[in-house]
Amino acid sequence: MAKGIRDKVVILGAGCSKFGERWDAEPADLMAEAFEECLADAGIEKNQIQAAWQSTGIDAFSVGPGAMPLSIALRLPYIPVTRLENYCASGTEAFRAATYAVASGACDIALAMGFEKLKDTGYGGLPQRSRGVTNDMYYPNLSAPGMFAQLASGYRAKYKTDKLDLKRAMAHVSVKSHANGARNSKAHLQRAITEEQAMNAPMIAEPIGLFDCCGVSDGAACAIVTTPEIARSLGKRDLVSVKALQLCASNGEEGGFGNWDGSYVATTRIAAKRAYEEAGIKDPRREVSMTEVHDCFSITELVTMEDLFLSPDGGAVKDVLDGVFDADGAVPCQIDGGLKCFGHPIGASGLRMLYEMYLQLTGRAGPRQLANPKIGLTHNLGGFPHQNVVSVAIVGRYDA
């Protein structure tokens, strides 16, 4: 019987580049920036890394396929390097691969590096791209905000939520993330906004307005993982360990069968249940100190609060407006600004979330440091609400 990943692997070091419109930076520049911080933090030499995984979401717009972008950029010493892509869960997938490699005993120290160079398209938003030869024949003419806007219509219909009430709760989600981003010098967007600004911003995909959308950014984030024993032998204390790593991929049922009504994301619920079980968490709202969730759009974050069982079904609007997920709330969400303001270089996002959790758990988050966090949860949602890949990772103090 599998015992899960809990407490088998710890984060030895983490790094993150400045996110944003990095007109100045090549992917190699972004990777080096994150890696130098990570390596110094880990306190090891580059040649101690025995395997590496690289995550990029949209290779065609940055570096092309394969893992050589990473191995060449960092001049890695002829070790196994693999590229991973799994939509917006790519970063967490790279972390999962490195973690599993260490847990299996196949290697002692492994690197997970995620990056994305999105701002070379000449326009705002994610690159317009093919979904595959056959899919393009029948998939709707979609954009990312358009697909996630489906959640708003489904949620409204199910809970008979007033259109304006939902929009206000969505605005609160963004206002909170902007306030958090303003205290993060690495964030893409560092300006606070008002609820009124969010409510009245230009419409992108009904009812998602400009301020309901996350930043489309360049950036890189990485983590070096090892076993608790090796970390200790390297003189590390206050270890942050992996408590759970779960992934759930749609099989087409939500969009093709049954009663899925667009008010929730089925895969998040499944991945969250498994992750809580793996981590031994029974009451997430009480036990989880903080979350970094996939707030690609404000409505996604709102729905995710229910899917992670942090809010009761139909209760997220009230919880959001009550400030439960604000920086001073019961379960702060996106304390670093989230995808919304830290930015969303796709392949880097999962690792950026883990970077923030690691800083918070080791008390190094500066002006946005939370008081005594013990357990952090990260969540990625790649694809569309009806058809997607979801990752849920839980990290915490090794001794907790």
Partner: protein, 482 residues
């Protein structure tokens, strides 16, 4: 006996107000003001000759899968493909039985549809079975031209056969004459015409009478007995002049719909015939004329059945379903008459992968899903493993045509970020009444009234235009049922 067994029509929902064309262009040609009466039917960006043909066919014949016909003929001078048989696309979109089906495109003249109708009648007369002629037209016109004021988009379908006739064929005649009232050369987008007075005096008023008189003589029918004189023209006074000249009753004059639809070109004879058949009474004689490099004339007598059989919506229903469009720029944009900034998102390569298109044509052309023979679950697309998690059976699905099905909107949005010729792009999850659900594009949405729970039907529309290679891809879109 052979004759007409069904008829139907389709007009695009948008009706461009002619006043806005005149307002934009009268500074240049003040004569346009004289034509600025009423409106004209105008294709949405995702409509063309083929998509309108599917609607006209469905109006006449329904969307039941597997209908057996001897022939399907598509008549038009504005076919999307010069070399890819357009009528085959139509046949697959209508889910026809293709085990022995003659398909044919007839083109190059305003008379194409009446000539196609004569050929279809020959098929029926030869005892080969029923045939359907669909005439559809979406002609391009130059900015500020007389044609822009007069032409409209539309389609009609006439089914012919031997049984259950609505109108029997009494006789017909065809007289070709190389009278060039207008022409469009190979590789040209627009028509070049000649002076209207010459077209009227030397064309309509001489060529049509020769054919009509010969037909009446041949069939022994008196002009005074003709109840419906169906003659397409973009010169509104000509049918009245001819009716008087022939000695037909004044009520025989057929409204050419020039101020409601516009002249639909090669489709116009059948559009007008479909309109007039709606009004015909048992025993009525209908004389149909096709004019263009000569004249076809066909004489029909309505049967008792004409009183009870009706198309799904017909020309009258299509006329009533119109929505005024006052944005002339939209008309120009949809018809690619302007070099318009479409944005960088429009620049994505939209190449059609023909081998993949062929493999998936049951889905793409015919909207065929699958029904699990083990658990009866309907699903689209059809797949190897049943989507029902309680079942999951392997290779148990039979093809299940869903193009005639309705559904309800479960989720939706109006997307202004993705590239669309007519933003915002509506799409969402449609849950079909028969089972099965699909995230799909929507079109012809009324923003003020649209929401979850709306009932939709599915329609064959243009999905993408590959402007680099001139190809267009089709798929099915949800349209609110009104």
């Amino acid at each position: 006996m052979i004759g007409i067994t069904a008829y139907g029509a389709y007009l695009p929902r948008a009706r461009l107000q002619k006043q806005v064309i005149a307002d934009a262009n009268a500074w240049f040609d003040s004569g346009l003001r004289g034509l600025a009466k009423g409106e004209k039917a105008m294709c949405n960006w995702d409509e063309d000759t083929i998509t309108m043909a599917t609607e006209a066919f469905a109006d006449a014949m329904g969307r039941a899968p597997g209908q057996t016909l001897a022939a399907v003929i598509l008549a038009s001078t504005s076919l999307p493909f010069a070399d890819r048989q357009n009528s085959v696309v139509l046949a697959e979109a209508m889910n026809l039985d293709t085990t022995n089906l003659r398909t044919m495109d007839v083109t190059c003249s305003q008379r194409a549809s009446t000539s196609a109708l004569l050929s279809a009648l020959d098929v029926a007369a030869a005892g080969r079975g029923d045939a359907v002629v669909v005439a559809s037209e979406h002609r391009l016109t130059k900015c500020a031209s007389r044609e822009e004021m007069l032409y409209g988009d539309g389609a009609a379908a006439i089914a012919v056969g031997c049984d259950n006739l609505l109108a029997e064929l009494v006789g017909s005649i065809s007289q070709p004459v190389d009278f060039v009232d207008h022409y469009r050369a190979e590789g040209r987008d627009y028509d070049t015409g000649w002076e209207e007075r010459w077209v009227r005096d030397e064309g309509y008023l001489k060529i049509v009478p020769r054919a009509v008189t010969a037909l009446l003589e041949r069939t022994g029918i008196a002009a005074a007995d003709i109840a419906h004189f169906v003659m397409p023209t973009d010169q509104g006074t000509v049918p009245g002049t001819l009716v008087k000249q022939f000695g037909m009753p004044g009520t025989a004059v057929t409204d050419n719909l020039l101020q409601t639809v516009g002249s639909t070109g090669a489709a116009h004879p059948l559009v007008l015939l479909a309109h007039r058949l709606e009004q015909a009474k048992p025993g009525d004689l209908l004389l149909l004329v096709g004019f263009g490099q000569g004249c076809d004339a066909l004489l029909f007598r309505a049967t008792a059945r004409i009183a009870t059989w009706k198309p799904a919506r017909g020309v009258s229903g299509a006329l009533a379903a119109g929505v005024a469009e006052t944005n002339y720029n939209k008309f120009q944009s949809f018809n690619n008459l302007l070099e318009k900034e479409l944005g960088k998102r429009s620049e994505l390569d939209k190449n059609a992968f023909l081998s993949a298109m062929y493999r998936n044509r049951a889905l793409a052309n015919s909207f065929i899903g699958g029904k699990c023979t083990s658990c009866q679950t309907v699903q689209i697309p059809k797949a190897h493993y049943c989507v029902n998690p309680e079942c999951g059976a392997y290779d148990t699905q039979e093809p299940y045509p869903m193009s005639g099905q309705q559904g309800k909107v479960a989720t939706w949005t109006a997307d202004r970020l993705t590239f669309d010729f007519n933003p915002p792009a509506y799409f969402g999850l449609v849950v079909f009444d028969c089972g099965g659900r699909l995230m799909m594009d929507m079109t012809e949405v009324d923003p003020a009234t649209f929401d979850t729970g709306a009932t939709v039907s599915v329609h064959f529309r243009i999905k993408q235009i590959d402007s680099q290679r001139g190809f267009r891809k089709y798929f099915w879109k949800a349209v609110p049922v009104r």
